[in-house]
Amino acid sequence: MAESMIRVRKLTKRYQRGGETLTVLDKLDLEMEEGRFYALMGPSGSGKTTLLNLVGGLDTADDGELIVAGENIAELSADELAHWRAANVGFVFQGFNLIGVLTARENVELPLKLTPLSSSQRRQQAETALKLVGLGDRMDHRPRQLSGGQEQRVAIARAIATDPKVILADEPTGDLDRKSAEQVLDLLVRLNREFKKTILMVTHDPAAAERAQSIVHLDKGQLGRIEHNQPVGAAR
């Protein structure tokens, strides 16, 4: 049995909407192994993105324990959480979330500015990440000069530039055509298999989910079934 990368215990998240309290995650228990590729599925409002945001330290839980990469992130202050995110998590969003005024290389270099690397080292590392995602010839292009698939690959390069332990992807193929979606999924699978990244991907697409090693189903803020496309530990 591999070590746990994400451990969730009685995790609760509520939102206030129009004077009503909406419980999005209800005492959720979940454990995810290091180096495994998970797909998170469920109907709209089931709490998938909320869980992803909590695991990535973008939002804070109301109750429960949340240990990611060995850190109980529920106990961290806002600044500590920011530093923790920079060191441990890479994000890939549905809408790519690249900064429009920067080039592909500058976007990938951004998280590296939070590391002690020198300017030339940062540049080199960003170029390596862009070459890895097949965009070595698009480094000086701005996001609007790239296709959707290319933008998402820049986002993946940015997510892996700091060599994080966990990659969190929120509908990474949601805005892409089939061919681009396949390229992005191929990349995520490669990052998992070759670089042993723990990946948690929210998706509505069963075909995309099939590329993961495990599919976790959420329903009304609670854990449903867990399917294993490959036996636990098979990819290791």
Binding site: N53, G56, L58, D59, A78, D79, A82, H83, W84, R85, A86, A87, F91, F93, N97, L98, I99, G100, V101, L102, E106, L110, P111, K113, L114, R158
Partner: protein
């Protein structure tokens, strides 16, 4: 991050340019207005408290008799006395207006040691009846005087008996080292003035007498004695120190410092509102980017810094433009408004003050968007629509 700051500003070049130029214009105006006040005040500050000025108690525009000079000179404590008369002429055209005074040449430098001329100029002024001296700023304005050595002045108040312009020979150029004595005035000899008027039967009066006093002299006693001396005379007089006289002269123009201060404050408020508006727009547009930065691990303080830095870069750039423009145009402005504000200059403290104003506007304009960036929740920021 600095690159991101610059790129964000360049992503809306017209808006950034308009904001920077408006800050530049405002800072240029603030430099100009402040310098007018500074120029007036420096004249006041440099005016001597130990030099006395005697004028008519009715008005500066009412002459006092020539005969008073001898009696005033006998007052205990008077060192030297020089008389001044406003000539009110012009050079060729009425638009070429500047001050001209008829003075006692031999006593001029005894009373005003801060007015410097070379020895040849001094000797020519002391010995040649139609000689005149002009300040260096005036000489720069009319370089033909230096070329020809002739200064023809049409007397508006005192027309020449010939009906032509008064003809003066330029003895040389003076340079004042004190702010109370400007470098844009012309002086000519009293004896020429008096004799020319007398030839037509007129008897010239005196505008003011200016006296230097002996060290340690009792100024208050001297003032009282001089005023009392002519209490029952043909023209009563008022005696003040030069600094008090200058203060009253400036007050004749109205409360200029306060008026200019209000204009400056208005300009400042207008530009501040403009800069705040521009930065609020930038802040709203960049909320999504702030969310991205926070997701990548940048702290709330870094998000705050991004917005405040943009505001500072924009306002300091605009400020530098305005200050640079003011510095570049200092001499032409001094020439243009020299007749109204002789000795106009921009003090170093004005440049520093203007730079601090740019800094303050930058901080104030960026404060609200930067605070919003600091406080916004990462998830909410990522949901915001990008620029």
């Amino acid at each position: 991050m600095f690159k991101l700051v610059v790129q964000n500003l360049l992503s809306h070049p017209i808006r950034s340019l308009i904001t920077a130029v408006s800050v530049a214009v405002a800072l240029f105006l603030i430099c100009l207005l402040t310098s007018i006040v500074t120029t007036l005040q420096s004249g006041l500050a440099a005016a001597s408290a130990t030099r006395l000025v005697v004028m008519s108690s009715i008005s500066l525009f009412v002459d006092i008799p020539l005969s008073y000079q001898e009696r005033i000179a006998k007052v205990d404590g008077i060192e030297n006395i020089v008389k001044w008369q406003w000539f009110g002429g012009y050079y060729k055209d009425q638009k070429n207006f500047f001050a001209q005074f008829a003075v006692d040449p031999e006593r001029m430098w005894a009373v005003y040691p801060e007015v410097k001329v070379d020895e040849a100029t001094k000797q020519k002024f002391l010995t040649q009846r139609n000689a005149c001296i002009v300040g260096w700023q005036l000489a720069a304005e009319f370089p033909e005087w230096l070329e020809t050595g002739k200064v023809p002045i049409t007397g508006a108040l005192f027309p020449h008996p010939s009906g032509e312009a008064w003809q003066f020979d330029l003895a040389g150029v003076y340079r004042s080292e004190a702010a109370n004595f400007d470098n844009r005035t012309m002086f000519f000899r009293w004896d020429l003035f008096e004799e020319t008027l007398k030839s037509t039967g007129d008897a010239p009066g005196v505008g003011v007498y200016v006296m230097s006093v002996e060290p340690g002299a009792d100024i208050e006693r001297m003032k009282a004695e001089i005023e009392g001396m002519f209490e029952n005379g043909p023209a009563t007089v008022r005696c003040d120190t030069e600094s008090e006289f200058t203060r009253q002269f400036i007050s004749m123009l109205g409360d200029i410092p306060m008026f200019l201060g209000w204009i400056g404050a208005g300009v400042l408020v207008a530009i501040l509102l403009g800069a705040i508006n521009a930065m609020l727009m930038a802040g709203r547009e960049q909320t999504h980017d702030v969310g991205i930065l926070k997701a990548l691990g940048f702290t709330n303080s870094a998000a705050f810094g991004l917005l405040i830095a943009q505001s500072l870069v924009l306002c300091l750039f605009g400020g530098a433009l305005g200050i640079g423009l003011a510095a570049a145009l200092e001499a032409p402005i001094a020439l243009a408004i020299g007749s109204a504000f002789p000795g106009f200059f921009i003090a170093d403290s004005t440049y520093i003050q203007a730079a601090l104003v740019s800094l303050g506007v930058g901080l104030a304009a960026g404060a609200v968007p930067a605070w919003n960036a600091l406080r916004v929740n990462c998830v909410e920021a990522l949901r915001a629509k990008g620029a």
